[in-house]
């Protein structure tokens, strides 16, 4: 049951083989057993989850079930959920009980899905290892010495350890795809604007995008259909018809053109990751796909561009944490300025403070043109690289991360080393394109490898089709860590 697909769980629920209350108890039991070690959840609230499960059972009994009715969903602690502690991984919000639901939470509630708990994450989603969380690191279920990736590391570890059938994540520079890759699960970051950001705590607003994390592409398709859709409360929400993302899952891949960017198979890529990714690509060739050599020449620039734009937006977004209206306030201060300065100094962790300072600097007088404007111009060049590449291919494939999961503490306190590991995911956010990661085997240390699939704008149904066809031929996505 812990390895069952959403389709199977849903059939069990509607067929009366198990109730949502029983299913929820099973997963809560698994969380109880595994979470003390894995630390994937910040908050678990048994009473609230079981209350939702009871409501779901009533919905199922009345025949009003959606495929996600009664299914436990682990929610990243970046999504505000009414009456739930919502910390965003920060001490700053360690006392923040949300008075309202995020759009994404509303959508899950509307079909009677069960919130099984709030997952651990890098503080304010700033990190690639989950080590910046105020609530401690998450351990990779495949190897407790390894990081789960980040920032949605708790969600990825929860699904990998089968503490939840599915989870939500957010992706600003790879925060769904990279932890999905490092934990051996599937995850998709949709086209920017498809999933409302209302109630999703802001990091870098022009890049942040919510999305689903699950075992398989088939499960992702069901979740994505629920999570997307216009929301007037997010000024960047796109007003377009809701899609059935499962509609093309079974289409054959004959004639599919897969672009392999030269820059994604260059220096810096681990040999074992390359081997697994190339093996996956040859599976696609067997399915009738053709390989096209493409180039994304500005790939290297995506890291500096991102580490100007994201901190700039963050410095503005995080100015709201001032110790006045909600969140942490320092104990002792003599005036208003000191109250701000001490509340922010004590409430934010080191990485968040660094990024706020970088952002403040690049936006400050005299540096704005040289850094911020230059980065925005380069962002256009990076987006153009993709539009050129998509003239020759239908999807782009490559590794999600240059290596398998690194060890906890391995990158030390050198932020630049950490930033460089985002090389294959960041450009996708800058361009606003959809990207996903699916399991494609294991590296030489037994840690999972992710295959990244990048599509053109609004091509999620095609990408899920491409991923699903691979998952019909292989069983990497069904492998579970020994626990």
């Amino acid at each position: 049951m812990f390895n069952a697909s959403l389709k199977d769980l849903s059939a069990m629920l509607s067929g009366g083989k198990i109730s949502s209350v029983e299913l929820t108890r099973e997963f809560l039991g698994r969380i109880d057993a595994l979470n003390p070690e894995i630390n994937a959840f910040i908050t678990v609230d048994i009473d609230k989850s079981l209350m939702q499960a009871k409501l779901a059972d009533a919905m199922i009994a009345s025949g009003r079930a959606h495929p996600l009715t009664g299914i436990p969903v682990a929610q990243k602690d970046i999504f505000c959920a009414k009456d739930w502690l919502t910390t965003c991984g920060s001490k700053m919000l360690s006392n923040f009980v949300s008075p309202y639901d995020a759009h994404v939470i509303e959508r899950f509630n509307s079909v009677g899905a069960v919130n099984i708990g709030k997952t651990n994450m890098d503080e304010f989603a700033m990190g690639s290892s989950n080590e910046t969380s105020h609530y401690g690191s998450v351990k990779n279920p495949w190897d407790r010495q390894a990081v789960p990736g980040g920032s949605s590391g708790g969600s990825a570890a929860a699904v990998a350890a089968r503490m939840a059938p599915v989870a939500t994540g957010t992706d600003t520079g790879g925060s769904i795809r990279q932890p999905a890759a490092l934990c051996g699960i599937s995850g998709i970051k949709p086209t920017y604007g498809l999933v409302s950001r209302y109630g999703m705590i802001a990091f870098a607003s022009s890049l942040d995008q919510g999305g689903p994390m699950a075992k398989s592409a088939e499960d992702l398709a069901l979740m994505l259909g629920l999570m997307t859709g216009f929301d007037s409360r997010d000024s960047t929400s796109l007003d377009r018809p809701v899609e059935d993302y499962s509609r093309d899952l079974d289409k054959p891949l004959d004639g599919l053109r897969i672009g392999l960017p030269r820059e994604y198979f260059a220096e810096g890529l681990s040999a074992d990751v390359e081997e697994a990714v190339r093996a996956a690509i040859s599976e696609y060739e067997k399915m009738g796909a053709t390989i096209v050599d493409v180039s994304l020449p500005n790939t290297k620039l995506s890291i500096p561009v991102y580490y100007v734009l994201a901190p700039a937006e963050a410095s503005s977004n995080l100015s709201r944490y001032d110790g006045v209206r909600y969140g942490y306030r320092a104990k002792d201060y003599k005036d208003l300025t000191e109250m701000y300065e001490k509340s922010r100094s004590e409430g934010f962790g080191a990485e968040v403070k660094r990024r706020i300072m970088v952002g403040t600097y690049v936006l400050s007088h005299g540096y704005y043109d040289a850094y911020y404007m230059q980065a925005q111009k380069l962002r256009r060049l990076i987006a153009k690289d993709f539009s050129e590449a998509f003239k020759q291919c239908d999807v782009i494939m490559g590794p999600t991360s240059p290596s398998t999961a690194f060890n906890l503490g391995e990158k030390g306190d050198d932020p630049v080393q950490m930033y460089l590991s985002d090389i294959y995911t960041i450009a996708v956010n800058l361009a606003g394109l959809p990207g996903m990661s699916i399991p494609a085997g294991f590296g030489k240390n037994g840690r999972p490898v992710g295959l990244q699939i990048v599509g053109n704008y609004f091509s999620e149904a095609k990408m899920l089709n491409v991923a699903h066809q691979y998952q019909k031929l292989t069983d990497w996505h069904l492998k579970m860590p020994a626990i």
Binding site: M357, T360, R379, P415
Partner: protein
Amino acid sequence: MSISLSDVKRVASLARIAVSDAEAEAVLNQLSGIFGLIEEMQAVDTTGIEPMSHAQEIFLRLRNDEVTEQDQHEAFQKGAPQVEAGLYLVPKVIE
């Protein structure tokens, strides 16, 4: 371009983040590394390229000028550090 200790202190002050001298020293090293990375951008000639501020070419929507939200100040102020009579309290700023 290299940044100095006084830059770090100025930026921390602009961002309303208290830093001790020892912290500022440590942050200086890390920020220097980050700015070293960022410096790579300067080599590219971007004359004539339009800045891209957003992933989609979107225009801000206008909505009708009508009340859409209920007054929920009690719920929202429940989590505030200090509230009195529906107002947020801060240290005195006007003598």
